[in-house]
Structures are given as structure tokens and as C-alpha cells.
């Protein structure tokens, strides 16, 4: 018997001692871990654990607990209600505000393994069930839809008695990719509104709850809702704004159109037109300049009163070379000159551009007037050629281009011009009468034009003198016979000049030899070296001769008058030449008498430069008196 028992024992114990051939090893069960207990309504609770390795043997688990303040160990009453590896404590076994010390034991054939104890208090482990009966409806607020979400608390949670106080939270999402949940805390209320919906979109909604001091429940099941199509409020507002602004814009355009004229005046003020007294713009537009200028004729021109100071233009004595051409030249220039003088007194601001024109016209007008006067009185002088006519015309043109001569145009300077001829050998007094008359005329001219303002007229006279001398010289170049003519003229000039000088420094003594200038033609030179002259009936020769003279650039220009009433002549080639010519005429004369070969240019070159330079070096202006006095 005993041997049999031993055999059985050995057989039984053999597997324990003899290692298994298949490699599996039996061991104690692993320690259960992660004991988690939760109470859904603060009335019951459930604990779950995670079993460890079973050790290859069937393992059983047991949960033991001990209450606070008691050493009695109890075992879990219910292992099945809550599932595997769980322990369910029902209401009878659950007490609150009492901590439980829970331990899970794993048992297999080899032994037991105890888990770490866990202390819990039911009130701290409350995790309710999710809310129930989630309902979402689309409602309308004045035409705009919104979602109304409502739910019920979980069935078991007793919120009515206040045993559990639940706080709810819901989340919303559009049914499309890449859209995220939008959470809203609803507090203790069981209803919530969602606004600003997308027209025609589908929304997903979930809700969950939490006790005041506990854990959040799981999210409830998703509820789907589709929002109907509707016109967005913002769009309608924008449409209204657009229509309104378009309406206002139309009104503005209409207003601007109605007031376009006044606006134009405001923004683009009209340019003031020419304001010449008596100047009619309409006539000008029509293209009839004759009428325009005739309209400018003022009855009180030339001003006979002594109100010349009012006029901007100062008159100079005009030295008209020939009376005939003045007579002939009663064209529009003359009229224009007369008229312009009258208009020069206009105090309009738009006068600036016309100033020089007016002035020059004044000069020419005065000149012509004086010429007329002289013509009337000085017929005895003789006929005049028409040569300078062109020159006269061109000179008037040139006048237009010249600068306004300052009022200080020296009569003295002008006076000196005649002195050019003074050193010339004395001459007979035959031309004195015309000379005297000329002088008188000159005086008249001067008186008429009222010095001391220096006068463009004086300038004009000078020019004329220059021109005449120049022409005379040119005659020297082209025709041998005009020399005597020149001579005579020069003499005449000089006579007048002398007389003028003798009369004193009064500006009125300004000689106008040009008035008395008569061009006579040299017929021949007799054996006594006397030049026979005869008046030139027509000015054609002169014209031919002096056609080239009459270029606009051959006129001497008065540059200005300095403070000493000295006439500043422009240092142009022409002028110099003419000056030179003037001087050369003298020297040429002297030389021509002897040599009888006209070379005025060369003479001029020889004669004058030194003098001129010297003179100029002294005071900066040409002093013909000193110039030629030095020469002699």
C-alpha cells in the first residue's frame, strides 16, 4: 500500500521536478495591474483590472476590498455584470464618503499574486453615461435658419434630486473633409442653439456630460442634420448697398453735368485775351487785319497835349531819310504806327507782349509823322529816291525787333551823330536852307515828341542817319558817281550837325539830317574833280544798289542809353561798319577826292577801329564826337 502511495506521489510530483520537454514553464500568475474603478451615478461602481501573465496555468482572479476604518476583508460580490476582469459593486455594497482599499489577487496552480492596493472614494470617480435622446432641429429666426440641439441626461444619473449635477458640452462639425469640431459648453442646460450655418450644408453633432466634480462621459452618438438653402443675409445687404451707391453715383453725374460750365470756369479759368484799347478780337478772328488796325485809330493821336509821361513809350526823333518814301509809305505801317501809339496808352495788363510792337510802331509812326511834316515843309529839299523805301520798311520791321530804348536815350548822343560830319570840310551854305529847315523840322520833330525822354524817335533818327550814310556809302561802292552825292549829303549832314551843335546841348538841337537827305545821282566827274550831281528821279537804283543794304541785318541798332544820356550803339558788325562807313565816308571822302577810288571798306578798317576802340574804352559807348575829333 505504501509503495503504491509513494508511486502516486512521485507521479504527481514528477511534472514539478522534471523539466518539460516542450519548453513551456509554469509560473505564478502575473500581477494584475491598472485597477480602475468608475461610478456612473454615484450609487454603484465598477472596478476593472488588467490581468498579468497567467504563468501557463489557468489563473483565477479575485478582488478583495476593505473599507475605511474596518479591517474586515470582503470579496467582490459580482464578477460578471461588468464583464471580464471586473467587479461590480451594486447599491447595497456602495457607500460614499468612505474609501475602499481594493486588491486584486491572481491565483493559479502555483500560487497567488497580489496586485497593488488602490484606495478609492466613490464620489471622486464619477463618470456618467453619455447624454441620451439627442435631437437636432432646424428652426428659423426671421427667415434665417439655425440649429436647435436638445438632449436628455443619462438615464441613471439622478439630476432631479440634485444628487448629481451635470454639465454638458456639445460639438458640431460640417460633413466634409478637413473640417474640425467646434466645441460649445452648454452648462447645466439641456438645449443649445447654433447659428451662422452654411446654406445647404450637413452637420454632425455630438454631446457629452460631466458631473460637477468628476470625469467627462463619452461622446454620444452622432446626429446628422441638413440645412436648407437660403440667401445669405450679408449678400442681400451688399446688394442693397450696391444699388444705393449706384443711385447716388447717377445723381452726382447728373449734377456735374448740369454744372459743367461753372465747373469748367472754376477749374480751368479762361485765358485772358489781348486787351488792346480799341482792339477787336472778333475782327482779328475774321482775318481782316486792316479792319482791326483801323479800329485802333484813336482820334487823339498823336497826342497833342503834353501828357507824354503817361505814355509808356517815349518818342525819339525819327530821322527819316527821304520824304518821298514817307509820302508813299502811307500804308498800313503808317496807320499802324499811328494807331499803335494811341493804343500804347492803354493801361491793360495784356500790353506786355505788345509793348515793343507798340513802341516800335510808335517810333515808326512818329518818324513818319515827322517825315510828313518835314515833307510838307521841306519840299525844297528835292525829290527823294525811293531807294530807302524798302529800307524804311525793313527798318520798321527791324524796329519791331529792337529793344525798347530807354527814355534816357541821349539826345546828346544823337546829337553827336551829326557831329560825325562836323569835321568834314566846310561846305557851302546852299544846302543850309534845307538844312535849316531840316533842323527846324528836326526841332519840330523833337518838340512834337517831347524830349527829354530820350526817345526811340531819336534812336530812330540815328538809325536813319546811319542808314542814309550807309546807303551813301554803298553807293560809293557800286557807283562811282554817288560819291559826290555822298559828299553832298555828308556835307549836308555835317552842316546840319554843326548847326545843331552850335545851337547847344539842347536835345532839341538834335539834327535830323535824314530829313533833308536827298539822294542825287552823280552823273560824272569832271576834270576838276568835281562831281556833278543830279537828283535821282526814282529810287530804283537805290533799290538795286541798296537792295543788299536793305537787309534786316544791316541796320545799326541802338543798344541803349546810359545814364549820361549817351546812346549805346550795338556793337554789331553792321553797326560798326556803318559807323565805320560813316567815319570812312569822311576819310574815304578825303581819300576819294584824291585817289578817286572808292574803298570804303578798307578805309573803314583803317580809319575807325582805333578811334572807336579808344572811344569805347573810355566810357563804354561810342562817342562819335571825340572819335572824329581825334582823327582830325
Amino acid at each position: 500500500m505504501m509503495t503504491k502511495v509513494r508511486e502516486v506521489l512521485l507521479l504527481l510530483l514528477l511534472p514539478a521536478f522534471v523539466p518539460h520537454t516542450d519548453g513551456t514553464r509554469y509560473s505564478l500568475p502575473g500581477k494584475p495591474t491598472e485597477i480602475k474603478c468608475r461610478s456612473p451615478e454615484k450609487e454603484t461602481f465598477t472596478c476593472w483590472w488588467k490581468p498579468g501573465s497567467d504563468g501557463g496555468l489557468p489563473t483565477t482572479y479575485a478582488l478583495y476590498y476593505r473599507k475605511e476604518g474596518s479591517n474586515v476583508v470582503h470579496e467582490c460580490p459580482d464578477y460578471h455584470t461588468a464583464g471580464k476582469n471586473s467587479c461590480f459593486f451594486n447599491k447595497n455594497d456602495t457607500v460614499i464618503w468612505v474609501s475602499y482599499n481594493i486588491t486584486v489577487v491572481a491565483t493559479n496552480a502555483l500560487g497567488k499574486t497580489y496586485s497593488d492596493p488602490v484606495d478609492i472614494d466613490v464620489v471622486y470617480i464619477v463618470k456618467p453615461h453619455p447624454p441620451e435622446k439627442l435631437e437636432v432641429t432646424v428652426m428659423k429666426d426671421q427667415g434665417w435658419p439655425f440649429l436647435r440641439v436638445s438632449w436628455e441626461p443619462p438615464r441613471k444619473a439622478d439630476t432631479r434630486s440634485g444628487w448629481i449635477t451635470l454639465i454638458y458640452e456639445l460639438r458640431v462639425k460640417l460633413e466634409e473633409e478637413e473640417s474640425e469640431w467646434e466645441n460649445h459648453v452648454a452648462g447645466q442646460q439641456k438645449m443649445f442653439n447654433i447659428f451662422s450655418l452654411r446654406s445647404g450644408g450637413t452637420y454632425l453633432i455630438q454631446v457629452r456630460c460631466k458631473p460637477d466634480h468628476g470625469f467627462w462621459s463619452e461622446w454620444s452618438s452622432t446626429s446628422y442634420v441638413k440645412v436648407p438653402e437660403y440667401l445669405h443675409r450679408e449678400k442681400s445687404v451688399w446688394i442693397l448697398i450696391l444699388v444705393f451707391s449706384a443711385f447716388i453715383l447717377l445723381i452726382l453725374i447728373w449734377l456735374i453735368h448740369m454744372n459743367s460750365h461753372s465747373l469748367k470756369h472754376c477749374m480751368l479759368p479762361p485765358v485772358p485775351g489781348p486787351k488792346i484799347k480799341g482792339f477787336d478780337k472778333q475782327l482779328l478772328k475774321s482775318g481782316k487785319s486792316d479792319e482791326v488796325f483801323s479800329a485802333l485809330v484813336v482820334s487823339d493821336f498823336p497826342p497833342t497835349t503834353s501828357n507824354y509821361e503817361d505814355l509808356l513809350v517815349e518818342y525819339l526823333e525819327v530821322y527819316v531819310p527821304e520824304q518821298q518814301e514817307l509820302m508813299v509809305d502811307e500804308g498800313k505801317d503808317h496807320d499802324g504806327c499811328l494807331k499803335s501809339i494811341g493804343s500804347a496808352s492803354d493801361s491793360d495788363s495784356g500790353r506786355g507782349s505788345c509793348d515793343s510792337d507798340n513802341l516800335l510802331m510808335d517810333k515808326s509812326g512818329a518818324a513818319k509823322e515827322e517825315q510828313q511834316q518835314q515833307n510838307q515843309e521841306g519840299d525844297q529839299i528835292g525829290t527823294e529816291t525811293q531807294g530807302p523805301k524798302e529800307a524804311w520798311e525793313k527798318e520798321t520791321m527791324l524796329c519791331a525787333n529792337e529793344d525798347v530804348v530807354s527814355p534816357d536815350a541821349s539826345s546828346k548822343k544823337v546829337k553827336t551823330w551829326p557831329s560825325v560830319f562836323s569835321p568834314v570840310t566846310p561846305y557851302s551854305l546852299s544846302p543850309l536852307d534845307p538844312h535849316n529847315s531840316l533842323e527846324m523840322h528836326k526841332q519840330n520833330c523833337l518838340s512834337d515828341t517831347q524830349f527829354p525822354p530820350g526817345s526811340p524817335s531819336s534812336d530812330h533818327c540815328i538809325k536813319k542817319a546811319l542808314q542814309s550814310s550807309y546807303w551813301e556809302v554803298c553807293f560809293n561802292n557800286n557807283q562811282p558817281y554817288p560819291q559826290t552825292d555822298v559828299h553832298q549829303q555828308l556835307q549836308a549832314h555835317s552842316d546840319r550837325n554843326i548847326s545843331a551843335i552850335n545851337d547847344g546841348n539842347a536835345p532839341r538841337n538834335l539834327l535830323l539830317p535824314t530829313r533833308m537827305t536827298e539822294y542825287v545821282e552823280v552823273q560824272r566827274v569832271n576834270e576838276e574833280n568835281k562831281v556833278l550831281l543830279h537828283p535821282i528821279p526814282s529810287g530804283h537804283t537805290r533799290e538795286e544798289a541798296c537792295s543788299w543794304v536793305g537787309h534786316g541785318d544791316n541796320y545799326s541798332k541802338v543798344k541803349g542809353v546810359n545814364s549820361d544820356n549817351v546812346l549805346l550803339l550795338q556793337r554789331e558788325v553792321v553797326e560798326e561798319e556803318s559807323m565805320e562807313m560813316a567815319g570812312a565816308a569822311e576819310s574815304c571822302y578825303t581819300s576819294s577826292i584824291t585817289i578817286n577810288t572808292p574803298k570804303p571798306t578798307t578805309c573803314s578798317h583803317i580809319a575807325l577801329p582805333v578811334q572807336e576802340e579808344r572811344v569805347l574804352a573810355v566810357s563804354g559807348y561810342v562817342d562819335t564826337a571825340t572819335m572824329f575829333s581825334l582823327d582830325t
Partner: protein, 201 residues
Amino acid sequence: MAQRRIRGGKLVMVLCVVAMCRAVPINDLIYRASQQSDQLHALSTMLTQELQGSEVFPIDRVHACHTSSLQTPTDKEQALQVSESDLLSLARSLLQAWSDPLVVLSSSTNVLPYSAQSTLSKTIQKMQEHSKDLKDGLDILSSKMGPAAQTITSLPFIETNEIGQDKITKLLSCFRRDSHKIDSFLKVLRCRAANMQPQMC
């Protein structure tokens, strides 16, 4: 004459104010009280979690809470059977029991690690404030609810000197539970009072 009129006006105003003050409904008082208790418990929970880092600190070790002698309901059925006055009395008693320990706690923070000292001090100060406000509110409330609500069970706190760290953590755990009890009682009370306003519960 003008002075008399002014005085009369003032008197009327004072009376009105008093009348209005008394006109605060009980529901509102309870609601405010429950809010205060909620705050109190939240603070204590936060404090214990910061110091221990775990949900529950084992209480039933050597020492129990000084308020354990107070009989309170242990489950829902029991709690719902307690009368309003008793509920209020319990709440007030518990609240009263913790006024001194909070003072002791506030003065014992230097025992704790330096990092936790400031947090503990601040939180304890807040808890004291809430506790004070709640006490005042409950006093007013109890005066309206009858003599039964006026009884307060005395729960003395023996320790007056500074306590060690273990004591602090246990004390905080006890306070956490007691604040939760107060909060629960007041919320039950709130729901019972809000018969006409179900949204409160």
C-alpha cells in the same frame, strides 16, 4: 423744514433698502451658497492633486479626520431622506469645524517643499475666503429656515501647533472630503428649493 424733509427722505430710503435686502429669495441664497461650496471643493481638489499627484490619498491610516465623528449620510437614499434643516446644519457644522484647521494649515506651509509653498499659501488663503463667505451665507439661510438649522455640532480641532508634512496631507484629504459633503448637501438643498425652477437642478 428743508432739513426735516431731507431726513424723511433718507429714512424712507433706508427702509426701502432694508426691505429689499430682506426680499432676497431663499432660492437665490441657496444658489449662491452652492456656488461657493463648489468653488471651495474645487480648490481643495486642486491642492491635494498638486501635492500628491494622485486621486485619492489613503485616509484611513493611523489618524482619521477630526470630523469623522459627525454622522453624515453614506449613500444616496440616506442623503435624500435628510431634511433640509439637517442638511443645512450638517453643512454649517462641517464648515465651522474647518475654520481653525485652515488657519493652522496656512501657518504650516514652511514644512512643505519650497516649490509647493507658494501654491499652498495662495490656495489656502482663497479657501479661507470662500469658507468665510459661505459661512456668512449659511448663517443667513439658517436664520430663515427655523431653529433646527441653527444647531451646529462642535468638532474641535485639537492640533494648534505646527504640524508635519504627513499631517498636512491628511488634513488636506479630510478637507477635500468634507468640502465635498458640504457641496453635496447644498446642491441637494438647492434642488429641493427650486420647485418652480427646474433648470437649477
